[in-house]
Symmetry: C2
DNA sequence: AAATAAGCCTATCGACTTAATCGACATTAC
DNA sequence: GTAATGTCGATTAAGTCGATAGGCTTATTT
């Protein structure tokens, strides 16, 4: 299960992607239209800013804009920022590898071999699906970036 | 990330599968050979028993046995018992569906469409991989039950 | 320059979950 | 009947999750 925070982050990014690119969108507007607690969204957008996905302007008429094309932001990237590694085991993460605390011999780990397949499958989907895929009206083909 | 408890459960089942099927294996033996806290393993095996994966005998010379062939116990089933639904969103679970709390229109949910692909991919792997796939020595072909 | 409107940032909260432990009880073998 | 074993509920300490609070900084407006 992905966290509520990750859902909020994705929805906020989709919201930003769908907004006119001319001027920044305010936190409160996103919060209102996506029904996200204002202060919580503040933290989320700050995270996304620190990771280079969005930029902000302060002061009156400030707000947020997307820093990249919606096609260039994947679900996988957002989930890693908010929820941490996608991998089912720490020793299978490409982006945040570390040994399982109780692991004696990684190469011989019986569980690891199976989960490696699961990790690849998940990454295959989430690192290909983008904010752009989630935009627009329901019926759109291409939305389901299936497994090839 | 799967829980420590789920890792223990899988390792315990593999241990049981690799033991001689003649007489029951004691909790303490599994705990020792797999390096799992004894009392914690007790709870885990009880869960697995309640779900019909293993059977137990009490009293002296008691212990646990597998109730099914290792080929007939999937990783997915074990994970669902210990960690709950595999699906990334509650509204995508086949075994424990329920609406997201804040969901207005499920069919139109932009996020859901993408995660549906991820859920299928994960299930595709974990509902095919079995305890038998994880048994035996490292090099074994077939261990990687890849995506087809 | 003061007032106001926005984002920035850190701390804190209560509820829940996780990993683990404890202790009393029930059952079986010998 | 005693020792060995599984059963089961309660408890704990630490961590996470979702959310809120409040002061700070920056920019605009008047």
């Amino acid at each position: 299960m992905i966290s509520q925070k990750a859902k909020y982050a994705l929805r906020a990014l989709i919201d930003l992607a769908e907004a006119s690119h001319d001027d920044p969108v305010q936190i409160s507007d996103i919060a209102a239209s996506q029904d996200i607690p204002r202060k919580f969204l503040e933290q989320i957008l700050l995270d996304l800013k620190h990771q280079g996905l969005v930029a902000s302007r302060r002061g009156k008429a400030g707000g947020y804009i997307l820093l990249r094309a919606p096609e260039a932001i994947t679900f996988g990237e957002v989930l890693r920022i908010i929820d941490g590694p996608l991998a089912p085991l720490p020793c299978l993460s490409k982006t945040a590898y570390h040994r399982c605390v109780d692991c004696k011999d990684e190469a011989a780990c019986q569980i690891r071999r199976v989960f490696a397949g699961a990790a690849d499958a998940t990454r295959g989907v989430l690192d290909k699906a983008t904010i752009a895929d989630a935009m627009g009206d329901a019926g759109r083909a291409g939305a389901a970036t299936v497994l090839a």
